[in-house]
């Protein structure tokens, strides 16, 4: 077995361990609060989580030695690392607060994140000259750790909202909460659909005309929308609907097509769930979380921002600026990724001022934590895939 295979296997192992740990954390929700921290189930759960994390560490370092550079240089590697840091963030917060319910939500988030990242090309790719610097490791890892700890505040916020939002009447809050949960279903759908068609080796080919030159475009999902101004050349089914012309960038059609597949798949999954539950998804989860200590969860929302914010500032702004100075001779250049790091920083600065200065606790704080995560995901996914810039490696 070569190193690459070894490292991949360790990633699979950690993926499975996270799943198992989730189940054990699930087994703790019926317990009384005090009993919880000492219960067998929670001890097993956290042990398995740590084993999973260690296994992913092995993946990371084995892949590092196989590639000769830290595996944080493309979309797959970065997202997998982000998932690993999410688990680390959870472990840290767990040992401060001993809140088992956090594991029940944090680990599935990490699983979805790693699963999502695995849909991008997983081969070890060579390092282009602009990335050949020790700052790659320092900047990217610190930024990812900061974002992951901030993501823990989202997880806590979500738990808080599921417990606290009044589900007896329909309100703006219940609707938005369902939208957040729908996004989880859509991510799940994306992973299921992409990996299924990947397994069958599906490939449709188009010839697209861009600015007078013809380019070949490959689809790995059946085309619900074709690339703009294109012709199908392989023998496949197509709807004939075209991607709107204003969507630009490489593979705009294919990405838009994937998005539609994910949203439709998400709708189906969500719809089936609603049909079975016969109530809002959050309303169905709520009674199971009745024993959750919401004050503690509220404190976790704040604490993870308090820990994550300085780490994020250090990694995503200060180290980033130092590297940019060394590589490009300017520490700040208004590249979209940089701007979105600044947007994230502004947002959490506002969060802290509102929380510490204006007394925004509880639901307000929880919603802010959710919005913060949306901003982080925008920077991670949208900016890389849609807005072309210096950081679009995927």
């Amino acid at each position: 077995m070569d190193l690459y295979t070894v490292s991949s296997n360790f990633l699979y192992v950690s993926f499975i361990l996270y799943l198992v740990a989730t189940i054990f954390f699930g087994a703790t929700i019926g317990n009384k609060r005090e009993a919880n921290t000492k219960s067998k189930a929670s001890k097993i759960a956290i042990t398995i989580t740590i084993l999973g994390f260690l296994s992913q560490l092995v993946y990371f370092f084995v892949r590092w030695s196989a590639a000769g550079h830290a595996p944080v240089s493309n979309m797959f590697e970065f997202i997998a690392f982000f998932g690993m840091m999410l688990v680390l963030g959870f472990i840290i917060i767990y040992f401060i607060y001993r809140e088992t319910i956090l594991g029940l939500f944090a680990l599935p988030t990490a699983i979805l994140v790693i699963g999502y990242g695995s849909m991008f090309p997983r081969e070890i790719s060579p390092l282009i000259p602009s990335l050949q610097s020790h700052w790659l490791y320092i900047h990217v890892t610190t930024a990812a750790l900061g974002e992951a700890i901030l993501a823990i505040s989202f997880v806590a916020g979500l738990i808080y909202l599921i417990v606290k939002v009044d589900q007896t009447v329909r309100s703006k809050q219940t609707t938005w909460l369902e939208i957040v949960l729908f996004c989880v279903f859509a991510t799940m759908a994306f992973i299921i659909i992409t990996s299924s068609f990947d397994a069958t080796g599906y490939e449709a080919e188009f010839v697209q005309e861009i600015n007078g030159t013809e380019q070949s475009v490959e689809y790995h999902l059946p085309p619900l929308v074709e690339p703009n101004n294109s012709e199908l050349v392989s023998d496949h089914f197509t709807t004939g609907i075209e991607t709107p012309a204003w969507m630009h960038g490489a593979d705009a059609g294919s990405k838009f097509n994937t998005l539609i597949w994910s949203l439709l798949g998400g709708l189906i999954l969500y719809g089936i769930t609603r049909l079975i539950l016969r109530k809002r998804v959050a309303a169905a989860i709520q009674p199971r979380l009745s024993r959750v200590n919401t004050d503690k969860v509220d404190e976790i929302i704040y604490r993870s921002v308090a820990i994550g914010f300085p780490v994020f500032t250090l990694g995503a702004l200060i180290f980033a600026a130092i590297w940019a100075q060394e590589a490009w001779g300017r520490f700040w250049g208004w590249d979209p990724k940089e701007v979105w790091a600044l947007v994230t920083w502004f947002f959490y600065a506002a969060f802290l001022h509102l929380r510490l200065g204006a007394g925004w606790h509880g639901e307000k704080s929880a919603w802010l934590a959710v919005i913060g995560f949306v901003i982080i995901m925008t920077n991670l996914i949208f900016v890389n895939l849609v807005i072309a810039g210096l950081h679009s490696y995927a």
């Binding site: 590589a327 490009w328 300017r330």
Partner: protein, 539 residues
Amino acid sequence: MKKIKCECGHINHEGTVLCEACGKPIEGNQHIDGNDENNVLEMRYEGSARRSKTYKRTFVDKTWAFFSSVKVGVWLIVLALLASAIGTIYPQEEFKNSVLPSSQFYEQQYGLSGKIFYQLGFHNLYSSWWYIALIALIGISLVICSIDRFVPLYRALKNQNAKRHEVFVRRQRFFSESENVSDDDRKTLINNLKKRRYKISEEDGHILAEKNRFSRWGPYVNHIGLIIILIAGILRMFDFMHTEGYVWVREGETKVVPTTEQQYYIKNEQFVYETYSREDERFQEALKNEELDVPSNFQTNAIIYKVKDEVIPGQEPELEEVTRGEIRLNEPLTFDGYSAYQSGTQLRSEYNSISFKVENGEGEELGSFDFKTNEDQRYYKLSNGYQIEIQDYYPQFEVTEEGPSSFSKYPRNPGIIFEVSGPELEGERYFYLNEDVVPLIDDPVTNVTLEDTELITASGLIIKKDFSLPFFLIGAVIFMIGVAQGLYWHHRRVWIHPKDGSLLVAGHTNKNWFGLKNEIESSIDGTSIKMVEDQQEKL
């Protein structure tokens, strides 16, 4: 300024809510912090007199009050956040990567929304007056907020006495009253607090135990860091702090370094371009999907010269080597405060030399000549009295309505018209273009073929001088220290107040009440002192 004298004898500033020394609520000022008699005291700024809350008459007062409000600060942050995000919808002008002028580019590329983006000036959003003004307003808010709070807070904490007014103690969030506490129990509590690194001060049997007061300065320290960064940003606008230039240097060429007032020259000795081998086992899989080779190195081997003595106009300056080295991405070359960064490449894009072979009618070689694009040589001698005359040279050949001409002075696509002449040979003209030689007359006697071409790379280098960097770094470090100081430590105080045979214990912290509760609980362990109750929860 009106002063308020408290019954304890301390003289407070106008607008004080709680006496700085004893903490007694000052009558008539309780509305300022929204205190009411039945509730715990608002302790955020120690009830100190803040300018923004005290004076509200003049324009200056109102401006001060406006900028010192957290609400306004948060709004400014949110506006800056939204503005920054909007600027990423479409690329900024510098990233648009198109020869089209912006007035056409945005509309053509993105349609109506692109046109609006351009017309609103969002293509240069981050250097627009209003964006800079927004950042400046945040800066003003930072300064005013910090001064408004820091000065009175510092005074209040400095003037605080160990002996507090009973009302102050009773209206703390954590409070308990225990009767018949023995002196030993009291001492145990004090010792336990000491063990937990509380500093103890005593006044008439009243005890103040305090720790981590410095954590209260965290917000102001991090704001100072941010202000230093903003000031550094202003300094950077001046040439003595920061200059930037860009220079293209071809292989073998020596050029003056821009922004150095003609004092430095740079020579590009060689440009090194390397790619990853497709045989490399590590990356084989990934490289299969790449049509083009993946570069592994862009490197300029450069020599930096400094001008010796004064330059006499019209004369070539005398140069002295300063340093030499390899400039790579991520590895700039520095010299005398300047740095040269590898930035652009025009890989093998220009012809350095083109060599030709000339034969006579019998196929005998008459010699060859090497046309140098950067030399102004008109005649080339061949053997047997033959010679070449360069009649026309177009570095970047194109045909316009006025006939052949050159698009630029750079030899990217040279076109050469030359004549071969010799004894018993009238001139025969040839035309060279696109690595091909075409005779311009029918049935020439001689035969000219292309022997070889030599292409060179032009390397684009950014030349920077930036003395503002240390200021940014200092600002960033101070910011990080301030954030850690304010977020990771908690200012905690415990008051022990004897009162007619009973003992009042009160506690206050600026955050993490849970932690303070634990500390008090373990400190009174084994004594008859009652555990403090959270009065906020009760009310």
